[in-house]
Subunit: 382 residues, 2 copies
């Protein structure tokens, strides 16, 4: 892979070398119409121009206007998955054992931090698609009900426990028909690629509302994703074995090759008026217990249909070490401890904090990366 | 209202008299392209023909091709909400006290059948939009994991506890911007109308998977809705006071007028090869504890954005009487008892069973109704 040469000069640390050509939607000028593109180094290749110039001469793309669109839906319909301005459904899994255990300890105590079903199936819930936003979008601090322990009744106000969650997400390529599950050993063919995902969470709202039907307003005010979809082909050099699963999964989840990716993940926080950001988390995609393909196959086993552009979040990716915890809930143990950001204390996010996720893998002289997924907290509505 | 006269003869029992002109998408012939229409009695008024003939002479519709479309999205964008072939997000509430109490007794026992948060906020979860299907679509029995009490480990197979849930749903009209909540006293302006909704549920899959993040594969294999959206204007003559709420809701949920609708709801089951169906449930929309407007305002209070065409299910609408229970889980008390369908025993749904929801209100010499929301169970994938 490292021998591929590009006519564009790309720095070895760039996330988008010739080995990683991620799809996205961009505007060449602020006033231009949005159009499909591919990132290379610091440049974006304008697929609409390539197409207009007749440079796609294969049978599928030759006479197609699929790149003369403000999104990639038409490109998708040719049998390739893609980025959509209007995303489909959004599902969020819960596939890191370390995150699951820490949350169980914090919310339910030491008896059964990990519930029995967790080891048998990739637990998940449906998220809100309308509030999935692209990196760089400001995040308005949500308001809602909370009910602190020991108080006689709930109150209403801005969340006091605003958090990030370090996740990645599968962007679904070809979907499946309602009633027709995807076989576990074909699941990879339904994955177009991956993005970084920040599942913003209001822990006080979440704690009060989530029984018995799961998270709702504690999560659905915003979910940020990185703008470039990195294909599994680009990540293949960094594939590694997934953790051994015990008990062994039921046959519909047992895969011939059980694969994770060795991909470094970081979370940085940059307080308002600070020049520098601080790294608060160093984790890795390889810590997932349930693989991306197991998540996808499980999602469809009951006949549920996936559609191109659907987003399947991995859940917070925490590693075994304390510094690899993927959210402030875990890092500060629900606000019992503080983090230091260049001398500033943090238990949860403050207005003006910018949270920046990044992810990359280092090859021999090149980097495959995801760019960043960022969002700045702005004050709650009055 | 009863004095309005139509040039079309409409039977007094018809659900679609001149007082109820619901929007939908139809095909005049099986081979025709789908187009917008309005139901009147047994007829459908073809809005594309009316429009082509130049009969819409108002400023908004005069030169618009919004009715020359296979869906109503363009009509929506004129500021009116509408039916969309591709629905947006789907949310399901849990707003009937009787249903909540019965489920709590069945799943968690008599200690706290209704959890404390339920009386303070309209509990809800996100459902799956891709598998929302129109009335008449067959429902493939889902397969999945279940773990019956007393067994050492879970097994995989077709659901043995397939159920319906009698619900209605708000179809959202104008949406709201991300970060800009809808005021409780303006919430009605964001409701285009209502449909019947059957939230098909696999109770064995649901019971095993739902802790701690809520329902997922136990629900997302299919959700049926009736094809015609009945406007709130048509239902206004049947408005009634909503149940008194104690404790009183927080100010953001306190509305000047707290309104339900007196709308009879029935569930019929027609076993395969039977000529007749049996009524198994007689309930009423007026039993909702949390109103439709409270549901909508709550959904947006954290800044979550609704979009035209979003579906907000009410949750199962059970009344206080045993025969008003809105699902088999409650009617047979999780399979402990049987229902008799013309002599046939039923604990949960069998292959070939057709489930038919209907809803109507009787005016003075006319009926406002929703038609039906039906679905037939077909065998699981092999």
């Amino acid at each position: 892979m490292a021998l591929l040469q590009s006519f564009i000069q790309v720095h070895p640390d760039s996330h988008f070398p010739i080995q990683n050509l991620p799809y996205g939607i961009f505007k060449p000028q602020p006033t231009s119409s949005p159009r499909p593109g591919v990132a290379i180094g610091d440049f974006v290749l304008d697929l609409s121009e390539i197409s207009s110039a007749g440079l796609f001469n294969g049978p599928l793309l030759n006479n197609s206007d699929c790149f003369q669109q403000p999104n990639l839906n038409k490109f998708v319909s040719l049998g390739r998955p893609a980025w959509k301005e209007a995303l489909g459904d959004y599902t969020d899994f819960f596939s890191s054992l370390h995150h699951t255990k820490n949350c169980g300890l914090i919310f339910r105590g030491p008896q059964t931090p990990v519930l029995e079903n967790w080891y048998h199936l990739p637990v998940a819930y449906h998220g809100r698609a309308s509030s999935v936003v692209v990196s760089g979008t400001d995040i308005v601090r949500p308001r809602g009900q909370a009910h602190p322990a020991g108080k006689p009744s709930p109150y209403f106000g801005p969340s006091l426990k605003l958090d990030f969650e370090l996740e990645m997400a599968t962007i679904v390529g070809p979907g499946n028909e309602l009633g027709k599950p995807v076989d576990i050993n074909n699941a990879e063919d339904h994955i177009f690629g991956l993005v970084l995902l920040n599942d913003w969470s209001a822990r006080d709202i979440q704690a009060w509302e989530y029984v018995p039907l799961g998270p709702f307003l504690g999560k659905n005010f915003a979910t940020s994703i990185s703008p470039w979809i990195v294909t599994l082909d680009a990540l293949e050099p960094f594939a590694c074995e997934a953790p051994k699963q015990d008990p062994p999964p039921l046959p519909y989840l047992a895969e011939k090759v059980s694969k994770n990716y060795d991909l470094s993940l970081e979370v940085h926080i940059k307080p308002v008026d600070h020049k520098d950001s601080s790294v608060v988390t160093r984790s890795n995609l390889k810590h997932l217990y349930w693989t991306l393909t197991q998540q996808l196959a499980h999602h469809t086993i009951n006949g549920c249909n996936l559609r191109p552009g659907d987003v399947l979040g991995t859940g917070t990716i925490s590693g075994p070490e304390p510094e690899a915890r993927g959210c402030l809930l875990e890092l500060t143990w629900n606000g019992q401890n503080s983090l230091s950001l260049n001398g500033l204390d943090r238990k949860f996010l403050e207005d003006g904090d910018e949270v920046i996720l990044t992810g990359y893998a280092k090859g021999d002289g090149y980097t495959i990366g995801f760019g960043t997924c960022s969002g700045k907290i702005v004050p709650a509505a009055p």
